[in-house]
Amino acid sequence: MQHLSVKIFEQSGAELNSSSAIAVFHRWIQRGHLKELAIDVADYAHIPCGPGVILVCYDGSYALENVGGRYGLQYQRKSRLDVDHQQALRAAYDLAVAACQRVEGEPEFKGHKFDPREFSITWNDRALYPNTDESWAHVQPGVATFLDNLLGARQYQLTRTGEDRRERLSAEVRETPQGAAR
């Protein structure tokens, strides 16, 4: 399981200000907040509904973005990770959640809330995971096990996002009311 992206959605619906994102990501580099090698901050906030502001790291990147018109924080794994399916999902998810918590703690983003129980997963490799029914059938059990452990069995909704073969294989996860009431 390689090159996974996890995007955790921002809940308030308020804009993630790009100037603030630039300041925060530069500060993370200056203060060595991340364990991984952080390289630079890339500003693509000028693209509507685009990748926003990206903290480019060697192993992956973090973006405060607005793809699809929905604000969120995306972690995208770039380098190889020699672990199994669930561990890879867990690793990407944990890094995304940790980054969200860090963002929520930054004064520039006071009031913003990322809900770790509502997120998307993208398999960013068309050779390994084309956007086909077969691919989906192949990854779904592993995702389900991961989500069972994370949110509890049958406490969530897992939906494949679109079947356009040109797009990457992706899915959205949302905790169901039963799960939320736990």
Partner: protein, 752 residues
């Protein structure tokens, strides 16, 4: 890097032309050899550059984070070129001859941007695509996936024939002599990998334009520029090209010179081949600063250059490819998908559609069809948007898409009746912004965002201007809307600032030991007539005050414009002294304590390159004295412009030279060397203390700027034409910029 890289080779087997496949295999082997330490750094660097794999900022393994310059903790010591870390992100340039693309190619680039980059593709001023943050070990797979859809990255960088550019309206343009597309394509693929183009000392750039008035292909800034012409020969209409050679922007721009008023279509390819052979044989190889074709043409003179080219032409054995394509050129490069139908004018036409149609829709020469421009902010487009463009190009046209030199995309052959529906679909994808090619659509090179040579943030400034001008009432005025803004991050002109109405290029200045990003303001350049003339810098303004400068200049033009006066004519009429006076107060850099914002760049919170510099009182005084002298040098360089404006070439040349001499003396004084009174001795002392020691060397341009000074001194007593004096002024400005930057470098090194 991607773990799936090994899968693609088998998966694409049979879909890649054998020659292309073999070349990529060879490149992949070079990567393997480099990893084994069996390939020299320089050899590998040239190999990857020839494949379009370029370096990117911070790939030396160091980055200033605003507090200090830190080593980036890559775990490997492996390098991919001199001082270039293997694992550092790089840039992949993708050649798109004349900007022409089909839907499948757009989708391939979308996939690559998503899987290997950051989900964004960038369009350059040479109609290429660039992907950033790419790992070197992913590049062979990227190349294979491109090759499978008929795209090569070969010779996208390095000392090669770069992407052949062409008018994006070729074939549909109302002003063209004929469609230049097949000629641009034939020449691009004829010279690609040709043995006669493999031994250049520098890059070689080619452009094709269908007419001489519109700026779409910018012929005059090219090494080899072709303008379509038709001529009656023996009662027959013959196609050919007016050919220009030796143009180029770079640090000091050269206008291309007329080589031949009419080169027949049959002679186009052999002429280019002959010229390539002369360039390969006689072009400078050791000193890259004087290695472009423009220097060879200037050195030889046009007559001798022509004689040599003709000599080569006479020796060439006939090649069937020279003319084989010509029998197909009349088939047209593309055509419509849907029937021609006019747009029904509606009284209730929505305002956003009306505005978009006014700026982004071009009525084609073919009745009932239009070319639509998609305005891309800073030349950037997401993978998702690229796929939308692919879909729409299949739905509304015959996949007739082209990149433009203004970093936008055009969709050709849209039936006018379809415009409202297309607009609606573009809007959903955020691709329906109006203002294409106007003042709200500035061009910018990558600058400090990703380029190793960037001095100031060109994209930051262009992005800021874009936002502000979109809200500006002045910018909405018809007289202002049509102006062009172009921004380069440094003097190398990738943003083509010389040919803008309002051009800017990045420089830096120091105050109290702190550096601040600035932009030189370049006024009077000409975008029309295929980049008909170049502007000159009139002064450096702190980055953060550039929007004020733009507002001031445009407001004054609007206020004082006389009847149909163009912006260039207005600038000429009020004169450079007045232009400079208009902006003088904006050039003042407040001390860091008063205006800390001036010491950071646009969209960046880091202190601008100052963290490791001291602020000692003594150093402050010394710098201050140096600053006064350098300011005097800048004044003299400016006075040289005024003399040039009055047509006094000798005085202009003399002042430009004096400006350099003063700068050199100032540097000698600053380093406490005795300053001789005699010019010969100043030159000798400067050579000894700053050139021979390489203290004056720019990290990337080397000793080029000092050589400008030495050349000006050597030729100071010779007669000067206006063209030569213009060049001397450019050189003086760059020499002074280098005085500023070298003092910063020397101070930093001393204090470190």
């Amino acid at each position: 890097m991607k773990v799936s890289n090994h899968l693609w080779k088998d998966r694409l087997n049979g879909r890649i032309a054998p020659q292309l496949g073999a070349e990529i295999d060879a490149y992949e082997n070079e990567i393997a050899l480099k990893k084994q330490g069996k390939l020299d750094d320089k050899v590998f660097a040239e190999a990857r550059l020839r494949r379009g794999s370029y370096g990117q900022r911070y790939d030396n393994g160091f980055r200033h984070d605003g507090i200090e310059r830190r080593k980036l903790g890559y775990t490997t010591d492996l390098t991919k070129g001199p001082g270039t870390v293997w694992d550092a992100p790089g840039m992949q340039r993708i050649k798109i001859p004349f900007g022409g693309l089909n839907a499948e190619q757009l989708e391939a680039i979308a996939d690559l941007a998503e899987e290997y980059s950051v989900g964004v593709a960038h369009i350059t001023t040479r109609q290429d695509f660039q992907l950033h943050y790419i790992h070197i070990e992913d590049t062979p797979t990227i190349m294979r996936r491109l090759a499978a859809v008929g795209i090569t990255t070969r010779e996208a960088c390095g000392n090669t024939v770069r992407n052949v550019t062409g008018c994006p309206l070729a074939g549909v343009c109302r002003d063209q002599a004929f469609d230049v597309t097949p000629y641009a394509k034939a020449l691009a693929y004829f010279l690609l990998g040709h043995p006669d183009t493999q031994d250049f000392g520098r890059k070689f750039k080619i452009a094709f334009s269908g007419c001489d008035t519109n700026p779409c292909a910018l012929v005059h800034i090219h090494d080899f520029g072709c303008i379509a012409r038709v001529r009656e020969v023996d009662g027959q209409t013959k196609r050919g090209f007016e050919v220009y050679v030796g143009g180029g922007l770079g640090t000091v721009p050269y206008q291309a010179k007329l080589y031949d008023e009419f080169v027949s279509e049959e002679e186009l390819l052999p002429l280019a081949q002959s010229m390539a052979r002369v360039f390969a044989r006689l072009g400078e190889k050791k000193n890259r600063n004087t290695a472009r074709m423009k220097f060879l043409v200037a050195k030889l003179g046009m007559e001798e250059f022509k004689r040599l080219v003709n000599e080569e032409r006479a020796m060439l054995a006939r090649d069937s490819r020279w003319t084989a394509y010509i029998e197909h050129v009349d088939r047209g490069s593309d055509g419509p998908l849907r029937p021609a139908q006019l747009l029904q004018i509606s009284a209730t036409e929505p305002e956003d559609f009306r505005a978009w149609k006014a700026s982004n829709v071009y009525r084609q020469r073919q009745f009932g069809y239009a070319t639509v421009t998609l305005t891309l902010p800073l030349g950037d487009i997401t993978s998702s948007q690229l796929r939308t463009v692919a879909t729409l190009s299949r739905k509304y046209a015959r996949e007739t898409v082209r990149n433009t030199t203004e970093q936008n995309i055009v969709l050709r052959w849209v039936s006018e009746k379809d415009l409202p529906a297309l607009f609606t679909e573009l809007k959903v994808a955020h691709l329906a912004a109006p203002g294409a090619g106007t003042i709200v659509d500035p061009v910018a090179c990558p600058g400090t965002d990703t380029c190793k040579l960037g001095i100031s943030s060109s994209r930051g400034l262009a992005g800021e201007l874009r936002l502000r001008l979109a809200q500006s009432a002045t910018a909405r005025q018809e007289e202002i809307r049509g102006l062009h803004i172009k921004v380069s991050g440094c003097f190398n002109s990738c943003g083509q600032h010389h040919i803008a109405d309002l051009g800017f290029y990045g420089v830096s200045r120091t105050k109290d030991g702190y550096s601040a990003p600035h932009f030189q303001v370049v006024l009077g350049g000409q975008w029309s007539d295929n980049a008909g003339s170049y502007g000159l810098a009139i002064g450096a303004i702190p980055s953060k005050r550039v929007p004020e400068a733009v507002d001031r200049i445009t407001s004054r033009f609007l206020r004082e414009r006389q009847s149909d006066e163009t912006f260039q004519a207005f600038i000429r009429r009020i004169g450079k002294a007045e232009c400079k006076a208009m902006l003088d107060d904006l050039t003042v850099l407040a001390p860091p304590g008063q205006d800390p914002g001036a010491y950071t760049d646009w969209h960046d919170v880091r202190k601008y390159n100052v963290g490791d510099m001291g602020t000692g009182e003594c150093a402050g005084e010394v710098v201050s004295r140096l600053d006064r002298e350098l300011a005097a040098s800048e004044r003299e360089a400016f006075e040289a412009q005024l003399a040039e404006e009055k047509g006094d070439a000798e005085r202009a040349a003399s002042l430009a030279y004096q400006a350099m001499l003063r700068g050199a003396a100032a540097l000698l004084d600053w380093r406490s060397f005795p300053v001789p009174k005699n010019a010969d001795e100043v030159v000798a002392a400067f050579r000894k203390e700053f050139y021979d020691t390489q203290l004056f060397f720019d990290p990337f341009a080397g000793g080029k700027f000092a050589q400008y000074f030495f050349g000006a001194h050597t030729h100071k007593d010779e007669p000067h034409t206006l063209e030569v004096s213009h060049r001397l002024i450019e050189e003086a400005q760059l020499f002074i910029e280098c005085c500023h930057s070298s003092t910063q470098r020397i101070s930093s090194a001393t204090l470190a």
